[in-house]
Structures are given as structure tokens and as C-alpha cells.
């Protein structure tokens, strides 16, 4: 039941916001709704924790027509991603309070629609519904970037739109193809899809269709060229939504469809997918070293980290999958933290160019501490969240292939290179004209950064709760993939 509320509540209030005039109250409404959703997700977690096994633990059947069912269910993977979505959305909304947005009612309405669509994607157990939510999630991002973005934003946003729409269409074709083959009365239910036996030839292009959709969304090298530009030009809240949550849709798709539907091909072609991912890690890391735009640097770092997640999924090892799930959460939290730090700097200096910055640490010591911890989280420092994820991911890649693990492991060196270099040039040294009057964090900014840091340290120091949530889901997915359960 809670799940239904989580989806309907943001939808209703987003429609309401569209109707309301543009006032200061709008952001309060949006924030309240997102906080209620978070409370709902936590409540759901308490129902979920005693028995995180089995799939799906509960289903809400709302409607059935043409084989499309309004079915929702939650396993460990969904649970983690719902928590991530509902945790980050209020932070993202709250982070916009200091900004000035024209037509703010539409802005917040779009964010709420986005939240609704994301929760839908992560929880539905009907693949047609999945596709619908998947495409709905594209719309708010498109408008947020196109309407509130920076220079050249329309062109860049349109490119992204085409990219991901093309991927989506191939996926739709593949879905319909498999639907026709479902036994008995055709159904879009995941469980029915998993039962379909596909002939090897058809599997190949179906695999490619799904893979393309997810690879573009994450993105995996070389399907990524929409990403750095869009992250750069979109308003920071939009970037946070995309990098923090939306790209997890791609990883989620790998877990939910590519692994279970194409067991043989994930073995045969998984190797190439891992190669692409590992190339992406090294490639993006090396590009990040010389980036002068802070926002683009963070974008490329995200590309590198996501590459490792993808590699972990395709290893089909327990550690790789477990690590990917933990790292999805960690990456989401860290990247939002990093983009918010960027936002803090940009608000005060009106510049995101690293060469314009410097000496901030002496002006704003509290900010320096927060930024440092988030940066450490991002470079997988022990006792922070992404160390747990990257440790398991690299272990998974290692179990798969030792040479690839060495290359993937370069991320811990390159990550330190570009992040420390960035931190040094923005925060240390003598203040420059733009940073001379840099004021320290406001209460509001602290309130946003503290939850981020709490999660970074919590998962880093005591990851067992999150590991425990993910474990049964990993087990199930691997069993389906290896044909142990149909």
C-alpha cells in the first residue's frame, strides 16, 4: 500500500503545482511531499527488513487491460533504489531554495513527476509499465534542462533526447517481440518474460536492443557523449537528478532484464561489455585529469565510476553484483554531494572554472571539511561508502579476469589524481579575486550536506545493513541468470 502512495502522491501534487500560481509556497509544498515520500520509504524498509528474501514480497494490482497490469513489487534491489530516490529528492529540492527559478511551480512539478517516474521504474513488475515510466522519466529531465539550462542548452538537451529515445525505441521493439512469445494468455509480467525461451538468433538482437537502451542511459563508453555536455549545461538540480538517480535506471535494467533474459549471451558477450566498461573507466579518468570546468570534471568522474558498476554487473559474480548494488547507492549520494559542492562554489563566485578558483579553504574552513569528506567518498577511501562498493566490484572483476581487474583498479589511482588535483586547485593556495570574499556555509547548506555525509560514513563504517538488503536479490538474479529458477 505504501508503494502506491509513493507513486500517487508526487503525481497528484505535481499536477497541483502546475495549476497553482507561482509563489514562494510551491517549494515548501514540493519539499514536504518529497519528505513524506522519504518517510514512506523508510516505513517500507521496516516492513521489508525482517524478510528481505523472495520476489516480489508484495504486489499491488490496480488494473489489468491488454496484458498490462499495474503490478508493483519490491525486492532488495528495488528497495535500495527507492530509498536512494526518496532520500535524494528532498535534498535536491531543498538545494534549489537559494536559487532563482522562473516559473518555479513548473520546476518543482517536474521534479516531483520525475520522482514518481523513478519510483515507478524501480518498483513495477510489469515490463510495459516499466517502459512507460522509463519514458516518462525522460520528459522532466528534458524540460528542466531545456528551460532552465545554461548556454546552448536546447541543442545539447535535444541531442540527449534523441540519444535516449532511440535507445528506448529499440527496447520497446524488443519488449513487444518477447511479449508475443509469452506462453498462454500473453502478459507483460516480469515473471512471464523470464519463462520465455528465445531462439539464439533472436536473442542476439534482443540483447543488443536492451543493452543499447541501458548503455545510453548509464552511460557506458562509447555511448556517453551526451553526458558531459548535458551535466554541464543543465541546472545543477537537473544534473543531480540525472547523475544521482536517473542513470541508475540503466544499471537497474541490466539487473532486471539483461541478466535474467539472456543467460547465454551475458556469458558470451559479457566479456565485451566489461571491456567497454573498463575502457570507459580509464578513458574518462584520464580525460578528467585535464578538465578545467569543475562540473565537467565531476561528470567525467561519474562516467568512470559508472563504468566500474557496469563491469561488476557483467562479471555475473556474487561480489560484482553485490558491489554494484551498494555502489549505486554510494555513487548516487556522492555525486549529488559533489554537484552540490560545485553549486555552493558557483553561487558565490559565479564561476565553475577551476583555474579561476583557489584559496577557498582559508575563507570557508567548514565547507572545506565537508567537501573533503565527500571527495574522499568519491575516491573510495576506506571507511567511506564507495570503498565498500568498489572493493566488492573490483573483487568481482578480479574473480572474472585478473588482468582486467588491474586496469579497472587504476580507477583508485586516477581517481586520486584528478580529485586531489581538483581539490587542491579550488580549495588550497592563496585566494584569488573571485574567491576572496568566499563566505562559509549557510545553515541550509549544512542541512543538505550533513545527511550526505552521514550516509557516506554509515555505509563506509557499517555496511552490513545495506549488504543484507541486497544479498537475497543478488542471489535470485544470479539464480535466474544461471537457469536454476525459471
Amino acid at each position: 500500500m505504501i508503494l502506491g502512495v509513493l507513486i500517487i502522491l508526487p503525481l497528484i501534487f505535481s499536477l497541483l503545482l502546475f495549476a497553482l500560481p507561482e509563489t514562494e509556497k510551491n517549494k515548501i509544498i514540493a519539499l514536504t511531499v518529497s519528505l513524506v515520500c522519504f518517510a514512506g520509504a523508510v516505513l517500507m524498509l521496516f516492513n521489508f527488513l525482517p524478510d528481505p528474501s523472495g520476489y516480489p514480497p508484495f504486489e499491488v494490482k490496480l488494473l489489468k487491460s491488454m496484458g498490462v497490469e499495474f503490478k508493483f513489487g519490491v525486492d532488495g534491489l528495488s528497495m535500495l533504489l527507492v530509498l536512494l530516490t526518496t532520500f535524494l529528492t528532498p535534498l535536491i529540492i531543498y538545494s534549489s531554495f537559494d536559487g532563482e527559478f522562473k516559473r518555479s511551480n513548473a520546476f518543482y512539478a517536474l521534479i516531483l513527476i520525475m520522482e514518481m517516474a523513478l519510483i515507478g521504474v524501480f518498483t513495477t513488475t510489469d515490463i510495459m509499465l516499466f517502459y512507460i515510466f522509463w519514458e516518462i522519466a525522460l520528459i522532466p529531465v528534458f524540460f528542466i534542462s531545456a528551460l532552465w539550462g545554461g548556454k546552448n542548452t536546447r541543442v545539447i538537451t535535444f541531442k540527449f533526447f534523441m540519444y535516449t529515445l532511440v535507445g528506448g525505441l529499440f527496447m520497446l521493439a524488443a519488449i513487444v517481440f518477447i511479449y508475443v512469445k509469452t506462453p498462454g494468455e500473453h502478459s507483460f509480467a516480469f515473471s512471464e518474460f523470464y519463462k520465455v525461451i528465445l531462439d539464439p538468433q533472436a536473442q542476439k538482437w534482443l540483447f543488443l536492443a536492451f543493452f543499447l537502451a541501458f548503455a545510453i542511459k548509464m552511460p557506458i563508453f562509447p555511448f556517453h557523449t551526451w553526458q558531459p555536455d548535458l551535466y554541464y549545461t543543465a541546472p545543477t538540480q537537473g544534473t543531480m537528478m540525472m547523475a544521482g538517480i536517473m542513470l541508475k535506471m540503466g544499471v537497474y535494467g541490466l539487473f532486471r532484464f539483461v541478466l535474467p533474459l539472456f543467460p547465454v549471451l551475458t556469458i558470451d558477450w559479457g566479456f565485451y561489455a566489461i571491456i567497454l566498461s573498463v575502457i570507459g573507466i580509464v578513458y574518462a579518468s584520464i580525460i578528467a585529469i585535464r578538465q578545467d570546468e569543475l562540473k565537467k570534471l565531476i561528470a567525467y568522474s561519474s562516467l568512470a565510476h559508472v563504468g566500474l558498476i557496469a563491469a561488476g554487473v557483467f562479471t555475473r559474480t556474487f561480489n560484482g553484483l553485490e558491489g554494484a548494488m551498494i555502489q549505486m547507492i554510494s555513487h548516487g549520494v556522492n555525486i549529488v554531494g559533489l554537484f552540490f559542492c560545485y553549486e555552493i562554489i558557483f553561487r558565490r563566485t559565479k564561476s565553475g572554472k577551476i583555474s579561476d578558483l583557489g584559496g577557498i579553504a582559508s575563507q570557508a574552513p567548514i565547507f572545506a571539511i565537508f567537501f573533503m569528506i565527500i571527495m574522499l567518498g568519491s575516491i573510495a577511501f576506506p571507511l567511506t561508502n564507495s570503498f565498500v562498493g568498489e572493493f566488492l566490484l573490483l573483487l568481482g572483476v578480479f574473480e572474472y579476469n585478473k588482468i582486467l581487474a588491474v586496469f579497472a583498479g587504476l580507477t583508485i589511482i586516477f581517481g586520486a589524481v584528478y580529485m586531489l588535483w581538483m581539490y587542491q586547485r579550488t580549495m588550497y593556495g592563496e585566494p584569488k579575486p573571485l574567491t576572496a570574499g568566499f563566505s562559509d556555509l549557510t545553515m541550509r547548506e549544512i542541512l543538505i550536506l550533513v545527511p550526505v555525509i552521514v550516509i557516506i560514513l554509515w555505509i563506509g563504517i557499517y555496511p552490513q545493513m545495506f549488504i543484507g538488503i541486497a544479498e537475497p536479490a543478488v542471489k535470485t538474479i544470479l539464480q535466474i541468470n544461471s537457469g536454476l529458477i525459471p
Binding site: T225, R290, Q291, F318, V406, A416, L420, Q424, Q464, E471
Partner: protein, 632 residues
Amino acid sequence: MIENIWLVPLFPLIGFLVIALNFRGFKGIWAGRVASVAVLASFVVSVNLFLQMTSGHEAQTVTIFNWLHFNHISISFSFLVDRLSVLMLLIVTGVGFLIHIYSIGYMKDDAGYNRFFSYMNLFVFFMLLLVLGSNYFVMFIGWEGVGLSSYLLIGFWFKNQEYNNAAKKAFIMNRIGDLGFLLAMFFILQQFGTLNFSDVFSKTQSLASGSTILTLITLLLFAGAVGKSAQIPLFTWLPDAMAGPTPVSALIHAATMVTAGIYMIARSNVLFVMAPVTMWVISIVGIATALLAGSIAIFQTDIKKILAYSTVSQLGLMFVALGAGRFTAAMFHLTTHAFFKALLFLAAGSVIHALSGEQNILKMGGLRHKIPVTFWVFLIGSLAISGIPPFAGFFSKDMILAGAFETSPLLWAVSVIVALMTSFYIFRLLFVVFWGATRQKEDPHHPVHESPKTMTVPMMILAGLSVVGGLLGVPHLLGGSDRIHEYLSPIFAASVAIKNTTTEISSQTEWILMVVPLLLILGMIYLAYSMLVKKPVTDERKQKSFFKDLAYNKFYVDELYEAIVQRPVSALSVFFHEVIEVKIIDRFVNNTGKLVIWTGKNIRYMQTGNVGVYLFFMVVSIILILFFNLFN
């Protein structure tokens, strides 16, 4: 009592948090007091543990909580209390405490006083984790943690970008080694299914000695040690790390953190003994580093850089001992080195303090009478590091030389050369700084002055330890009881049994091995004396010579790395971004888009609304279809 081991790292952690969360609240020297008390508390607990160990208490593992537990991986956050870890506890907290006290005086006027002490406590916390971990995982947490604290403290004066570069370099070079450590952990997990020391070591013994997997694991672990303990090829960060405040150099870059690699290998002695290839690699890397760093140290002019290269060189000697399977000797030298090198750094800090920040020894001179306490402790430190009996370094160095001789006489000969270099560069330093004419510019506002009590007392205590520290391991030959050997024997028992070398050196040879180097060292000191005290000191760089120039410029290793690593990566970065990203991938994407638009644009013209054109297309199509059917 041993169950309360978590108290040891807890005190500095609390100290760190209290100071860090309240960094604006502490006024005066309060932060220094809090930090020192925290380390003192850990020291008291450690002493207590030490007494229990010596009274025959067995080694014990204390689990704090389960860090990670799923599938068949189980990693716990647990501590191992045994003779080896307790010895390290004493060094870390004991020397650490003295350096904290010293810092209260040394850092008194620094704007970042509170921040300094919070970092120092953070360092001690991570160092204690490193030492106490009962598995490679907890050790790794401490391992990376000390790297972070080191980074923060090297770049402590963060307004200076050169210092920041040094800090970054240290962190990155350490991370390169850490990747080796991480991969070693993966191999261990795969091979043994666990990271716990006790399980790994007991399972190791069922493998064949010299098996590939063991060689691989130990080489990767050694890569980690190379990064942390600044050996070839990852040693260049340590001299640069002297950018940090001098107490940091004493604590982190001399006494404790850089010895973590030695500790880790000694801890894993069973693994290493069973990988003879790795042992050879360790010996060779160790001796090469010792020689290289020693020769660089002779020609440096920065007082801290000389000591830094000296540290690299001494660490190399410890690796020689490890490579020879003389784990006790390595640990013994680690201990005495912690005393005298910390002392030398603190004394150097006192000199720098007295001269208001001057670090070039050629601008110092005749300080013997102006800062007598500093002079005397520096002299003691120099005697100790040179290996003059009965000072601490004599006994530990002797043990290493004996071990080297057992492995190969050549290794012994080169080690002796390193020892000679050591005595030469340290006495060169001593004579230039404390003898001769006054070369420093006298500043009337800041006359040359002896340091306050908070600084001199810790130095005196360390000087005392540098005198008597050697008594821990007086060899049987000199009528001693070699106590450290006996103390550590349970730790190294298994590896001694595996190695099973019973080649006893005759006591006559042993005498020769002891006396010959000693006479040479004394000769070396006299050489330094005649070169630098009898004649006036000149800037050596004016006397050009190829080797001198090479050594003065540190054999251009930094420049080499810049040419073969930094610049190519940087160029690659630009190439990836400007060529592959923009010109290839993105152009392909954009052209696909353009193609679609172009096609749409052109196809549009076909829909002219002219029925004749449509009919034409229809007829042509039908003809084509018929044509194709004809040929099929």
C-alpha cells in the same frame, strides 16, 4: 584487560573528533594538551598490554564488529594483540606522545594550531588501526588512513601550492602501492577464502614453498610496502614530504608511518619466507634504495632533506634484513631507528626554530655553543645512527649486517658501504651546522635561541632512548641476552621453522663482521672531520664534478618520472578529449543525426503532390520487383 584493546585507538579518535568539531573553540595551547593526553592514555594502556605480554600472556584476537558478512565472505573489524603489535603500539604511542609534546612548543604560534593537532591525532588513530588489525582488511584501512593523514599534514600550510604538490605526490605514489596491496588481498581471498592473519598463515603452510601464487601475493604486498616505505621506484615522495611541519616529519616520515611496510612484511613473515623469489627482490630493492638514497644524502644542503634521504636509506637496510629473513633484525632496527631518527628530526626542528626557519646547512655554522642542548642530543642521534657502540644503532645495524652476510657476502659489503655513507652524511651535517664559523645572518629581533622546555625535554628523553635502546638486543657474543629476539620469537617461530637455516657463523667471523665496519665508520667520521672542520666549509657545488652534480640533483629521478609518466598521461588526456571524444565519437553521433535530417529533407521532395511522379515511381518499382523475381 586485553578485551579493552579498542581503547587504544579510541583515545586518539576521540581527541581528533573533539578538536576537529571544536576547532574554533580551543584557545591557546588547549588543543595540544587534549591531543597529547589522548596519545598518553593510549600509551598507558599499551604499556599495560606490554607487561601482560612479557608475563607470558598468549596472543589474542578481539572482534569489535562484523564489518561485512555475506555469501562466503566474512570480514570482521577485529584487533590482534600479540608481541609484535604491542611492540609497535609502544613505539607509535610512546614516540608519538613525545612528538605531540614537542609540537606544543614548536607549533605554538601557528594559525592552524588546532587543525594541526586534530590531524596528528587522526594519524595516530589510523596508525594504531594499521598496527592492530587482525586481518589484511583492517590493516588496509589503517594503511590508507595514514596515507590520508600524511597528505593532510604534508600540505598543512595549504596556501603554498608547492607544499600541496608534495602532499598530492605522496598520496598518489602511496595509492600506486595500495593498488598492489588491494590486488594482493584479492589473491589472498581467492586462495585462502579469508583475510585473517592466523588463518592465512596456517593455510599457507600447506602450500609448496615458492609456488607461483605465493610469489605473486608477496610481490604485490611488497609493492604496497614500496609505496608506503618509500623504496625504489616509489621513493621520491618522501624527500618532498619534508614540506610538512618538522614534528610531522619526525613522527610520520621517520618513526612510524614509513615503517608500516616493514611491519606488514614482518607480520606476513610466513608468506614471505615461502616465496624465495620475493625475498631476493626485497633484498635487491632494499640495498639499491639504501645505496641510492645514501649517496644523494651526502650532497644535499637542506637539513631536512638530508634526514629524509637518510630515512629512505635506513628503510632500505631494514628491507635488506627482511629479504635475508632476519625479521627480528628488521624490527629491532625499526625500533632503534624510531628513537634516533625522531630525535634527529626534532633536533633539526629545534635548529630551524632557533634560526627562524632557515633550512640550508650552508647558511648555518658554529651553533655548538648557542644551542647546547640541541647540539648534544643531535650528537647522540648522530652517534646512534652511525652505529657507534654502545648507542642504539650499533646493535641493530650489526644484526642486519650479520643477516646480510648470511645471505651473501656481496650484500654484506654493499650494506657496509651504506653504513659508511650514513656516518659520513650525518657527521657532515653535524660538523657543518655545529662547528666552524657562524654563517647565519643574525636577526636582531630573533636572536639565535635555545628551544623551550616543551621541545627540549622530549628530545632529551629520545636521546636517552637512543643511548640505551640497543640494550634490547645485545648479542650473545658481547655477553648480552638478545632480549628482543626472545621477545619476538613466538611471532617468527613458524617462518624460522620453514626457513630452517642452521648455518651458524663462527664467533670469530662474527667478531670480524662487527669490528671491521666499526673501524671503517670511525675512519669515515674522521674523514668528515678533516674535510669539514679543519678546512673552512665551501659551497660544494662550486667544485664541479659529474657524480656530485648527479647526486645533488637526486639523479634526476623526478624529471624522469615527469617525462615518462606525467607528460604522456597529460598528453593522452588532451588527445582523448580533443580527438577521440570530440572529433571521432561525437562527430559520428552528430553525423548520424545529420544524416537522418538530411534524408528527411530530401525524401520530402519526393512528395510533390504530382500524380505523374508517383506513377513513375510505381512503374519503376514494379519493373524492379519483376526483374528481381526473374533472377531468383
